[in-house]
């Protein structure tokens, strides 16, 4: 029996505040899809809005990739959208197909984890109809170590926004604009992964006993 109810109340309040702070570490403009956002930093130059890049990873160690189905994510519920708009589902399917087509230039597309296989997780975050939001994460398919993570956002061209309001109205009016944004994202992801893979491969070659060049 606690003989000091006021003290117990203060203790409970402190615990509640501590828990609120711990769970509130997610940046306000993120959806929860990536889980841990603590390592992401503000992107510079042409990078995404928030990025994490594991520069010590050997990107030449991977020759295959699993592209998970793109998820339509509800930021308010911090979970997959229970009843996603038809246009959002169409976009998710389109984006995954664009990713697969671009990444097939660089990697073998597979479905089963393997030590030489990457795994790409992507979510389209439902939000304002004037913007397209994505969060993505590239992990080692076996160890699940995070190699890259990004939170990004693109504004739809003003002229083709159509009637402001629902995702449906934006989608039906602007699907070509939206698709171009997904195509571009898929292209950037492919180009960056290819560049990193080629760089790491060239460094391995330079480090091989047959080579005597440090730079």
């Amino acid at each position: 029996m606690d003989r000091h109810p006021a003290r117990a109340l203060v203790f409970a309040l402190v615990v509640a505040i501590a828990l609120a702070c711990a769970t509130g570490s997610r940046p306000s403009a993120t959806s929860g899809f990536l889980g841990d956002y603590t390592t992401l930093v503000k992107g510079r130059g042409n990078q995404a809005r928030l990025v994490y890049f594991h520069s010590e990873a050997d990107f030449s160690a991977y020759d295959a990739i699993i592209v998970d189905p793109v998820i339509v994510w509800d930021a308010e519920q911090a979970g997959p959208a229970r009843d996603p708009a038809a246009e959002s589902e169409r976009q998710a399917g389109y984006f995954r197909q664009a990713l697969r087509e671009h990444l097939a230039d660089v990697y073998q597309l597979v479905e089963v984890p393997n030590p030489r296989t990457l795994r790409l997780r992507v979510a389209i975050v439902e939000g304002a109809s004037s913007r397209v939001n994505i969060e993505c994460e590239l992990i080692d398919s076996v160890s699940r170590e995070r190699l890259i993570a990004a939170v990004d956002q693109r504004k739809l061209p003003t002229a083709s926004e159509g009637e402001a309001g629902t995702a449906e109205s934006a989608g039906s009016a602007d699907s070509a604009d939206v698709d171009r944004i997904y195509d571009r994202w898929a292209e950037i992801i492919r180009n960056r992964l290819a560049a990193l893979r080629d760089f790491d491969a060239s460094q391995k070659k330079a480090d091989s006993p047959d080579s005597a060049s440090a730079y």
């Binding site: 042409n46 760089f199 330079a206």
Partner: protein
């Protein structure tokens, strides 16, 4: 037994040679004069671009190279920083910084 000693000597020399060549550390970077550092960064950029095979699927290598050359001074400063904080940092540490710039410049 003379040939065995000779073989061991050759193996030892080749081991030292390859180790020195492959593990350019901050000692090497810090030993460069200021002008030579920018030459080394330029050389690193051109070498990295030579190893890029992305042209086959439309990667604009010229644009990436221009971006990296535009960042050359910052790359040099970052190398100086990492080598100032850890004089024993290996080529890997320098490569990791460089990879961050590649990541930034590729679009």
């Amino acid at each position: 037994m003379g040939w065995v000693r000779l073989l061991i000597l050759v193996m030892a020399i080749s081991l030292v040679w390859t180790s020195a060549a492959s593990a350019m550390s901050c000692q090497g970077w810090n030993g460069l004069a200021a002008g030579k550092k920018s030459d080394a960064v330029d050389s690193m950029i051109r070498s990295a671009m030579a190893g890029q095979r992305g042209r086959s699927y439309g990667v604009n290598r010229g644009a990436i190279e221009r971006c990296l050359l535009g960042e050359a001074r910052n790359i040099e400063y970052d190398f100086d920083d990492v080598c100032a904080s850890s004089r024993t940092a290996s080529m890997q540490a320098i490569n990791n910084i460089f990879k961050n710039y590649i990541w930034t410049c590729v679009n």
